[in-house]
Symmetry: C2
DNA sequence: TAGATTGTTAATCGATTAACAATC
DNA sequence: TAGATTGTTAATCGATTAACAATC
């Protein structure tokens, strides 16, 4: 099962499957069919089976997939069977909300550091963290070996922050700022500008 | 140019193009080629031309696309040449951040109402708004004719909130809660659970 | 066993890319 | 005019779906 052989569309659905399996597990289900998952997710049953079959034969004919074992397997493939340290940059309203969000840890992530450039904010509390001076970011992130960054700054600062993160060795960036980032090929960016999905929907209203 | 004839993948790229054009305009550019847009967005130039050609002939050979006129056209197609009222449900940290966010208005959205079910929060301030009792949501949203909702509640409450929004006439939902929502066919949902894109990236780390 | 559901194949469907005549 | 870039076609590429033998 060569990583480069799995299409990105398939990989991009795995976290969705994992989330649904975790919910199913909470409901006490031990086994779930592709048909049942399909109804819960709006992804076709054939697609779910095809996607999962790329990683192994987890299902049993006549019964479906064992919920806990499949969730474990997906966590391993997604590498969220460990907890990743994340660096947060930009501690405004959104940054604070992220720093205080309780939903990261049990799904594989922990905000380990928070940076801002505003002297008023540096040294203040954000969740469990003390906001640090962005000028110390490169050294701190490098030393800690952090590979994941979250950008919650205004758009005007985001590219510069991205450059700093890349320089510090970060390989995955979650960008809340409403701007496209240019990064080297070995760095991944995912975008969470809320206006983009809103505008995708108003087209159809 | 029949709406149902435009593939959703194409529609889904329009807000990205619009955002890039707005940035280009701020930089003082009046004309931009598909090649230049391609470099700024990581979408191929051929794809940009093909997408845009589905809506009309906005470009000029030898020069490219007029930035302001194309942005106007995209805003019209996306229907964000007006400002949509949005209802926010769930006023925790994230809900507060959304209520205070300044980036919505000039891109076509305005949070017009905010609801929570917590008596401690009802009546308090969130941005410019007073948090209202969720039990009054259906009537208030219906009367105001609001078509767009944002869910920023915990996962456990999200489906129930979605049902209320649908009942109140909402046709587009932006869901921050980490759960898949089941809604009627004429209602659209977009998802912004931050853990999904994070897990998509850890696969490759 | 009988019923249900998987994993997989082949067929269909749709999206992307390359290339170039048209034209600003 | 010469150079640049569009809009569009045809070819390629890739993803989804339908169907079913295998099997729990």
């Amino acid at each position: 099962m060569d990583k480069s052989k799995i299409p990105h569309v398939v990989v991009s659905r795995l976290p969705i499957y994992l989330r649904a399996l975790e919910h199913a597990q909470q409901e006490g289900l031990t086994c779930i069919s592709s048909q049942e998952l399909s109804e819960r997710l709006g992804v076709s049953a054939a697609q779910i089976r095809k996607d999962l079959s790329m990683f192994g034969e987890y299902g049993k004919q006549g019964r479906g997939y064992p919920v806990a074992a499949l969730a474990d397997a997906l966590r391993r493939h997604l590498q969220v069977d460990k907890v990743w340290d994340v660096v947060l940059v930009g501690v405004g309203d959104l940054g604070h909300a992220l720093a205080r969000y309780k939903g990261f840890t049990h799904r594989g992530f922990r905000i380990a550091m928070a940076f801002d450039r505003d002297p008023e904010k540096i040294g203040t509390q954000a969740g469990d963290l003390i906001v640090e001076d962005i000028r110390t970011l490169a050294r701190r992130v490098q030393e800690a070996g952090i590979k994941i960054g979250m950008i919650a700054t205004p758009a005007a600062a985001a590219q510069e922050v991205a450059n700093m993160l890349v320089f510090a060795g970060v390989k995955a960036i979650l960008n809340y700022a409403p701007i496209h980032l240019t990064v080297p090929d070995d760095v991944r960016v995912e975008y969470l500008d809320p206006v983009i999905p809103l505008q995708r929907m108003t087209y159809y209203l």
